[in-house]
């Protein structure tokens, strides 16, 4: 599923965040998030996906209906969603 390295702590938190979702919803969400976060990491010239890429993805690439849920899920596992840039929902 991942095509480049992720900060392992961040990957674990992402897995934790999506673990309450029903599997069919989760698979779609995960593939969107992974693809977009990796693209953002590459855009800024990083070889590793980091927290700012994930949070920016959640804020800008998630469908509007799922965006706040995703941000809430990230907050629940200890990710600071205020720190990264992006369009506030």
């Amino acid at each position: 599923m991942r095509s480049m390295p992720w900060d392992e702590d961040l990957w674990r938190k992402l897995k934790d965040a999506i673990s309450p979702m029903p599997p069919f919803v989760r698979q779609r969400a995960l593939s969107t998030i992974v693809e977009a976060s990796e693209a953002l990491a590459q855009e800024r010239g990083s070889e590793v996906v980091e927290e700012e890429d994930l949070v920016k993805t959640a804020k800008t690439k998630m469908p509007a209906l799922a965006r706040q849920r995703m941000l809430d899920a990230l907050v629940e596992v200890g990710i600071n969603v205020e720190a990264a840039e992006g369009t506030e929902p």
């Binding site: 599923m1 674990r12 897995k15 934790d16 999506i18 673990s19 309450p20 979702m21 029903p22 599997p23 989760r26 698979q27 995960l30 706040q68 849920r69 941000l71 809430d72 899920a73 907050v75 629940e76 596992v77 200890g78």
Partner: protein, 345 residues
């Protein structure tokens, strides 16, 4: 800690029930509570549940079908944008009731089944013949085209039957099996001998994981045993965790709360620490500001082994059992069998 929207809220619409189960968390009996929320109050509460941002409302009880306005409440939940589901003992689901639930917009129903045979189920549920009535209710639900899941309670002495119950659930066409650990809360406190031992829980969890790994369609969930997720992460390959396993517990006060028939708000049906009263405050206000919820949301505030545990954000210990036994929301879960070394990620 900032309140995020709950994913689901359960509303125990009545205390009244036609059964007398030994574990009943809501202390249900054969009459409504004298301060039961009336139809107008129940509708107002459902509106407030939608305002919290929740998507799913669970209408349970008591037995929700004892309430004559239940179909109106289901319809109202749908009209305010919630997805209504129900928890029922199944005995009152006639063909007519099932069709009315479908017409009202009920999305799914969880039917309690506490034994793989009539003798075990009826003894626990307090009514001879309950098993037969429940099975008929399941058939009526199926005929009405409503999705359903089977919900057994695990207990000392007969927890091993859960596998046979799950087999039956699959045969009947259930979408999920949601297993409840026995928690000594409500009437369950009077029958604490049903609580499983730590070793029984460990064996159950291994069986549960093996079943989910072998299953592509059926979804298993478990309430009251959040340590399952630790075992899942330690023993299941990542791709299977991501595609098959659902973490459903503990969400008390973080993604879920419960409102009783008299308006009392609890973090969970089995974590009975009052967080507010919807007759005095709106549910939105309670959800966002209740001190009880603030404490439960701060997993860094957990004590002892739970506080040092690297899994505290995904497990946090069975807060319900801890509260029932110690009166504390933050004490360590002394029924956790993992060593401190095992709780490092």
């Amino acid at each position: 800690m900032k309140a995020t929207a709950p994913t689901l809220v359960s509303f125990a619409v009545t205390r009244e029930c036609n059964l007398k189960c030994k574990h009943c968390y809501s202390q249900s009996i054969d009459s409504p509570h004298p301060r039961e929320l009336d139809t107008a109050e129940a509708r107002r509460l459902i509106g407030q549940i939608a305002e919290t941002g929740a998507r799913l409302i669970i209408l349970d009880g008591g037995e929700p079908l004892m309430r004559s306005d239940i179909f109106e409440l289901v319809r109202h939940a749908r009209s305010v944008g919630l997805t209504p589901v129900m928890g029922s003992n199944g005995t009152l689901i006639t063909p007519e009731a099932a069709m009315k639930l479908a017409d009202a917009g009920l999305e799914a129903i969880a039917i309690s089944l506490d034994g793989a045979d009539a003798e075990t189920h009826d003894a626990f549920r307090g009514l001879q013949g309950a098993w037969e009535q429940t099975l008929q209710g399941i058939e009526n639900i199926r005929q009405a085209g409503i999705s359903f899941q089977i919900a057994p309670t695990l207990r000392h002495g007969c927890w091993e039957q859960w596998g046979a119950i799950a087999d039956k659930a699959k045969e009947w066409g259930a979408k999920a099996v949601e297993v409840f650990d026995y928690i000594p809360a409500g009437r369950g406190e009077e029958n604490a001998e049903f609580e499983m031992t730590i070793e029984e829980r460990r064996v159950f969890i291994r069986e549960y994981i093996a079943r989910q790994r072998a299953e592509d369609e059926m979804i298993y969930r478990c309430v009251g045993l959040p340590q399952i997720w630790v075992e899942v992460e330690k023993t299941v390959p990542e791709d299977e965790v991501l595609t098959k396993f659902v973490r459903s517990c503990c969400a008390a006060g973080t993604r879920y709360c419960c409102v009783l028939y008299d308006g009392t708000v609890y973090p969970c049906m089995v974590l009975q620490k009052k967080a507010g009263d919807v007759r005095e405050q709106s549910l939105v206000d309670i959800w966002q500001n209740s001190e009880v919820f603030q404490i439960l949301r701060d997993r860094n505030g957990l004590e002892g082994k739970c506080g040092r545990c690297d899994y505290r954000h995904v497990c946090g210990g069975a807060r319900c059992r801890v509260y029932a036994k110690t009166g504390s929301l933050t004490a360590e879960d002394d029924a956790c069998w993992f060593s401190e070394e095992e709780l490092k990620r």
